[in-house]
Every structure is written in C-alpha cells, then in structure tokens.
C-alpha cells in the first residue's frame, strides 16, 4: 500500500518503467520455476499484473483480461469482484464458490497450495473497471437478468470497445426489456463517439429521449464539443422535454416521501394516541416502548442468525408479536406500579414517566452497550421500484402498508371488540362506566398495555430505517406528541390525518427551505394552528371534553 502510494506520486514514465521491470522479473522467475510453461500470451501477461498489489496495475489487468478472449476471463473478473482472486507462489488463482482452487492461467485444478495466498485488493476505481469489463463480457450470457445487468453496466461505462459486442447482442436479443437496455447503451456510446454518423447520433438522441430519466438527461445536456449542430439542437429539445417530465414526477415523488414520513410518524404516534389520547396519560416513556420493540427485533434476529439462518426473511414477522408482548407487558407493569397512583395529576405523571424513560434507556445501555446494534434488512425489503421517474424503495412501501394496517386493526379493535367498548366507555365517563360494572382499573392497565404494545411493533418497523440504540425513542417522542396534539386528542382518525399532514408538509417544504428551516417552519405553523384550535384538527365534542 505504501508502494502504491509512492508509485502514484512518481512521474508516469517511471511508474511504467517500474511496472515493466517488475513484470519482467516476475515473468523470468515464472519461466525458471515452470519448465513446461506455455508461451505467455496477452492473457497470461495481464494476469501477472494482478500480483503487483497496485490499483493502477489491477485496473490495467482487468481491461487486458477482458479483451483477451480467453474463456476464463469472466471467471477471473468475477472472482476479483468477490475477493476470490488470489495471488501467491508466483501464480494467480481463482477460488471457485465450491472452494476448489484453480490456476487462472491454465484452468487446471490446483491441489493444496503450501504457502500464503492473498486476495487481490480492490478499490472504487478497480470496482468500476470490473463492472465495465463484466458488462462487455456478459452481454451474450444465456441468463436474461445477467444480460440486463451487463447492458446497464455498458450504459454507465460508455466503453466504445463494447460496441461490436453490443451490435451482436442487439441482433440476437429476443427479450424486450433487455433489448431496450441494450439499445440505450448503444445510443449512449454513439452519442459521444466522434466518428459516428449524423443519422446514428440523431437516432441515439431519440432513444435517450424515450428513456427520459435523469441519466439520459445528463447525457443529452453534456454532449461532447465535437457534436454537430443539428444533433446539438435535437439533444437540447429532448433534454427540455425530459426536464419537464422530471419536474412533473418530482411533485409525486415529494408526496410519496411525505406519505412515507407520515406513516413513520403515524406508527410512532398511534400508541400514544391511545395512552395520551384516550386515557390522558402524558407518557414520556412512550419512545422507550418503541426502543424496546426495536431491541426485541434485534434479539429475534440474533437467535435466527445463530440457529435458524433459513428463517431470516421472516424475522420481522416473528418479531412483531414478540415486540408487542415485550413492550405491552412493560407498559402494563409501568401502569400498575407507577401510573395508577398518579391519575389526575398530569405534572407528576409527566415527571414519573420521564424518570422511567431514563431508567429504561440506561438499563438497555447497560445490558446491550451504548453502541448501535445491527438489525438486518430481509432481502424482500431491499431495493427500489421504479414507476415513471419515481423511485419507491421497498422498505418504505412495506412501512407505509404496515402503518396503515396497524391503524386499521387498532380502529377495528376499538370499535368492535368488548375491550374497545370498555376502553371507550371508561374514557368517556369513568364513574358511569364503573357504575355499570366495568372494572375501570383493569381496563386502564389493558389500554396502557395495548398502547405500549403498538409502540413496540412500531419499533420493529423503525429498526429498518433508524439506528437501534438506547436513544432511539427520544428522537420520536416530540414528534409523536406533536402528531397527537395536532390531530386532536382522543381520536385515531385525527392521528392519521395529523401524521400525514405533517409528513407531507415537511417533505414539500424540505426541497425549498432545507431540512433545518423546513422543520422550524412546520413547528411555527403548528404553534399558530394550536392557538387557533386548541383541541386540534378533530376535536372531541360533548360532555367528555369537559370532564
């Protein structure tokens, strides 16, 4: 690495000289060592460069291997990408995914090598070279997904050398999406190629205009200076069209970001809507219930990783009921041990629950340590879905759907179950409900447990987008109160509308005002709103309010 750093600062001819000298020496040693060595072709020479432990040499080696036409080229480049290309003993080896070791020069299996093998190091520059090389090497792969990947790689690298392979691939491609990707890749190359025909370039502009995304726009608005006037003006018009289209989609994209932020707020606040909204308890430890849910997810994943790795995709589903139980029982415990003695004394409740939140935080910090814990994302929640010029990430889609289902279930529970009936009765008139034979203290405990449990399952979802640390809850408590107060205390629909309004308003403001100012503007708007309507968006009416 030191050598690499030193080589970078040398003038190019010296570096070149060093490389030549080194290659020569290595080739010499190789020839001495192997009497039966085949004549070194360009492929073998390129392979030797991998042994130099220099990023520049590795980069050059990849390009040379890719154009060598050797049947092992794809294996070598893929092995390099995955850290399976090993050097040592004056040879380059590929470790197959099966564990077998083969000599990269001859393709023969190699027994157990004595001595140390090191994998060839890669950095971003090398990774880009690998991607470009694999692109041109796998254009004709029998696997459609790989061909698509290859076409995209060529589109990004715009490597003119890939053009003949690209033409061949287009001619025999039957799969429409792959064919489109191949054609855009060809268009990208032709547009910047100096000696391409006018008509070819104009057709390329057309293809890119149809593609219509940010990358196409970048290509069209950065034409090389040698482009003919006619092509320039066509590209300018196409770029204009794409800009208009992107601006149109931008609005939808912002709304989506708003909905997705809103659903996170909804998840965090919905448990509070029960404990604060219907029971009137200012529960400052609400955020810590979310944190407990997130740590439950972590524990579930730890167990699954160690004992049932096959179940990892379902880890979040398994964590949901457990998080509900853990956070819910802690909630019942808090209610029975502390809060029930403090009903009707909001200030004391606030201080007591604040204290509980600190105890829970420090407890988790002592048990799990102060550092973040890693919660993995199952494969089905990774990646993004492209609709028009919008990109929706799967984890956000999952969270939005999840938030709405939690909301719906909670609404049904409160509306149609006997527990829900009792909770509403106790909330509306505690003494009357008591006179009708409802055990109000038991209902209080259950309702608090329900609210806390819902906070726990919110923690499962939030573990996917935020850090799982003892501070997780703190960052959501203010937002949660804001949503519940804004939406109207004691009304689940208010919480839904409040969360969505705040989320969307925040995301509409952010591109213009920036994250910091946007948040300040939103807080001011809420303060003004609460002054005009102290009971929030959806105020409860009737005698319950006065009680």
């Amino acid at each position: 690495m030191r050598a690499a750093a030193a080589a970078l600062t040398l003038p190019p001819y010296e570096v070149h000289f060093m490389i030549v000298l080194r290659n020569f020496l290595q080739a010499f040693v190789l020839l001495l060592g192997m009497a039966s060595a085949a004549l070194a072709g360009p492929y073998e020479e390129a392979l030797l460069k991998f042994t130099n432990d220099s990023y520049a040499d590795t980069d050059a080696a990849i390009a040379a291997v890719a154009v060598s036409g050797n049947p092992l080229a794809v294996d070598v480049v893929e092995a390099l990408r995955d850290g399976r290309l090993l050097v040592g003993l004056e040879h380059v080896f590929v470790r197959r995914t099966s564990g077998d070791l083969i000599n990269a020069a001859t393709g023969q299996t190699w027994g157990n090598p004595t001595g140390e093998l090191k994998s060839v190091r890669v950095n971003n520059r090398v990774r880009r070279a690998i991607e470009a090389a694999l692109g041109s090497l796998t254009l004709l792969s029998p696997d459609a997904a790989r061909r698509l990947e290859a076409a995209r790689a060529v589109f990004r690298s715009r490597d003119e050398a890939a053009l003949p392979a690209l033409e061949k691939a287009i001619a025999q491609e039957g799969h429409v999406p792959v064919r489109n990707a191949l054609e855009t890749a060809r268009a990208a190359i032709l547009l910047s190629k100096q000696d391409a025909l006018h008509t070819q370039k104009l057709a390329a502009v057309e293809t890119l205009r149809d593609r219509g995304d940010q990358e196409a726009l970048a290509l069209l608005s950065n034409l090389p200076s040698h482009a003919p006037l006619e092509v320039m003006s066509a590209a300018g018009k196409a770029a204009e069209g794409i800009r208009a289209r992107l601006a149109f989609w931008q609005a939808f994209q912002n709304v989506w970001y708003g909905i997705s932020l809103g659903s996170v707020l909804l998840l965090a606040a919905i448990g509070l809507a029960i404990t604060f909204g219907t029971m009137g308890v200012i529960n400052m430890a609400h955020g810590e219930m979310v944190m407990l849910g997130a740590y439950t997810t972590f524990m579930v994943q730890e167990v699954i990783r160690s004992y049932f790795p096959g179940l990892f995709g379902a880890s979040l589903l398994i964590a949901l009921p457990l998080a509900f139980l853990v956070a819910g029982s802690v909630g019942v415990l808090i209610e029975r041990a502390v809060i029930r003695f403090l009903y009707g004394r909001p200030l004391e409740t606030l201080l007591a629950t604040w204290g509980i939140s600190l105890i829970l935080q420090q407890g988790v910090r002592t048990i799990f340590g102060p550092t973040n814990r890693e919660v993995g994302t199952p494969a089905w929640m990774s990646g993004a879905l492209d609709i028009g010029a919008m990109s929706l990430t799967y984890n956000r889609i999952a969270i939005v759907l999840f938030a709405f289902s939690v909301f719906a279930i909670l609404l049904l529970v409160l509306r149609y179950t006997s527990l829900g009936l009792y909770v509403r009765a106790v909330t509306q008139n505690r003494r009357m409900a008591g006179s009708m034979g409802i055990r109000t203290s038991r209902i209080d405990a259950l309702a608090f447990g329900l609210g806390s449990g819902v906070a726990g399952i919110a923690g499962v979802a939030l573990s996917q987008i935020d850090n799982v640390s003892p501070n997780l809850g703190q960052s959501y408590i203010i937002d949660s109160f804001m949503v519940v107060v804004f939406g109207g205390v004691g009304n689940l629909w208010g919480t839904l509308v409040g969360a969505m309004t705040l989320g969307i308003a925040n995301k509409m403001l952010e591109p213009h005002a920036g994250a910091v100012l946007g948040k300040i503007a939103l807080l001011i708007a809420i303060i003004v709103f609460i002054q005009r309507r102290p009971r929030g968006l959806f105020a409860l009416k009737g005698r319950a309010v006065e009680a």
Binding site: A5, R121, N123, R156, Q214, N222, Y257, I465
Partner: protein, 418 residues
Amino acid sequence: MALAAAALVSSATAQAAQAEETIKVGVLHSLSGTMAISETTLKDVMLMLVEEQNKKGGLLGKKLEAVVVDPASNWPLFAEKARELVSQHKVSAVFGAWTSVSRKSVLPVFKELNSILFYPVQYEGEESERNVFYTGAAPNQQAIPAVDYLAKEEKVERWVLAGTDYVYPRTTNKILEAYLKSNGVKAEDIMISYTPFGHSDWQTIVADIKKFGSSGKKTAVVSTINGDANVPFYKELANQGVKATDIPVVAFSVGEEELAGIDTKPLVGHLAAWNYFQSVDTPENKAFIEKWRAYTKNPKRVSNDPMEAHVIGFNMWVKAVEKAGTTDPDKVIDAIVGIKVPNLTGGVSEMLPNHHITKPVLIGEIKEDGQFDTVWQTDDLVAGDAWSKHLDGSKDLVADWQTLKCGNYNTVTKKCGS
C-alpha cells in the same frame, strides 16, 4: 464510641496519606445520554492506560489513579464536572470531551484553574489554548487531504458537503468550500446541505444528491454528519441504490464503532478519512488491539481513531511529567512541546508549539466486515494547523506557546490577539 471516632480519624488520615502518594488523572467522558455511544469507550481506554502505567511502576515513583466522572452528554455539566475534577479531586491532567460544544464549555474552567486538558477528537480547528492539547485531527489533517484524494484518484468535479447543523460541520465546510473554490471548482458544482441532530428521514436529501450527481460530472459526498444520524443516512443511500462506484461518500465522523451498527455490505467502497484505522498492519497496533481486547475481555471489541489519540496524548503527558520531574501544570505545559511518542500507525507523533500534533492521514474504504481498507496514506506525518490557511479571518494567525506565548498571533499586525 471513642474507638469508632479514632478509627474514623485514622482511616481519614490513611486516605489522605494515600491521596498524597497517587497522581490523579481526570477522565471527563459522557457515560450516559446521546454521546455515551462514542465516549464510553474512551473512558475504558483511559482506565486501561492508567492500569498499564501502574504496572510499569507508575509515574515519578507514585501510582496513578484515574478519577472518572460522568458529564452525561450535558454541555454545562461538562464545565461543572471539570471544575470538580480540578479543584476537588486535584487531578494533574484531564483527558476528555468529545463534541466541540463540550470543549468550548470546559475551556474557561481550565484557563481559570490553570490545569491541562487533552482533547482526543478530530475537530474544526480555529483554536489554540495554552491549557489544551489537541490530539485529534485539525481540518488540514483530515478534511483537506480527503478532498485532495477524491479530486486526484476519483477525478471528482462536483461536491456535496453534507453535515449536521452545528459548529464542527459548519466550520469544516466553510474551510472546504474556500479550498475547493481556490482550486477552481465553480459555485454551481458545490451543494451544501445541513440537517438537524439525529435526522432520520433522508429520502429527500439522498434523492437530491442522486439528482445533483447525475449531471455527467463525477460527484462525491463529503459528510460531516454526526453520530446517530449516519445510520439512517447510509441505509437510505443503500436503498436508493447509490453505490460507492457512482457517488462515493467520504465521512469524517464515521469510524469502526459507528459501523458496528450497520449492515456494511451495501456500503462497501464508501470512504472515511482518519489518522488511524483498526486494520492498520503494524506491530504497535497489533499489540494495542491485543491488550485492549484482553482488558475489555471482549475478543471482538473494535478500536478507533480517538482511542489512538488518547494513547498518544497519555504517553506524551507521561513523558512530559517525567521530563519536568513534576505534575505542576505550568512546568508540564512547557515540557511537553517537542515530546515525541510512537503512534499506532508506525510513525512518531510530536507535540507542536501550537499544541496540536503531527499525524499521518489515512483514507480507507469500507470493507464488508465493517473494517476499513487503507487505500491511500500520506508519505509523511502532517503537522496540525490551529488556524486554517484557507479562511480569510485566520490565514494570518499562528499559534505558538513556546516562543510567542500566544494562541492567535497575527503575523501581519505583529500582535497577539488577532
């Protein structure tokens, strides 16, 4: 009753006698609250260093004793606890603070009581105090070389400066902006974005970065995002498919400890600039990691840059005390300038007259296992600048506590105090 009183008195005198025999070292790191995530480790390092020094026979024939207090991530409490350490516990030196706010909060205390603080974290510079020794990186030992690396190796032409909204990112970005512009980068090729502490919804900003980066020019993100906000930021990058090969992110506040909470597979290739990586392959580092893991009884415990800074700072202080023959702050402050101790990356760091130290600069790429692979490093150690050469207000200032006895001497007006 009389017996009990006598026993009390004797135990009190015994304690006093014992107190006279030890040299006390203050440890001022948050063990609770938001910063506990980063600072708890540094407390452990200090305890290990003190224990180790005692095994070697202590200092000046006396045993060292660590006094640990918890300022609980609360900035005013830092000042109170610092005062408690110096005036009540009579510590000879304090090792502590992490955020710039906490450092600024304790500065007046150390000046007033004339004690010594070793500050181990990379910071924004623009400061040099007689009572403080800065063992972390100044901007010219981290930010500027990182930008140089990206411009040279990755051919970056467009820059996103993203940071948390407080003093360190704001000052660092001001310096970087001035530096980039002086190197011919146009204003439209620089995007600056600040976010609140603990920002967790990065959708819009990552989408903006993607948009900014798809103009055809190579783009990189220089991140001074602090603490917990990093995890959701990197998760969003991964989800929106921003790869290091397209838009690399170089971070100044993300180390091994922070990566421990993220699935690093989608982050492979993103960069960090530090003066130390756990993966650095030197005998000194190997020995340190072994000792550290044995001390914490955790075979997987990671090490990071501020830990190394404490190791260097502590060893420098020990040498300075030995040289001065006393723990008297004035004598130690005079003795420590010019002291050289080996760092963990194979070089020898020196305390400079401006109370900063010399360090190598390393650029590392994130690997799949959450460690860094050093892809570039400076040939020599870089001397820390207290005052940036790239800012108008500070380029004429120098700090020199040896000959000039001044932390902000203006070379143009020839006056101390800018």
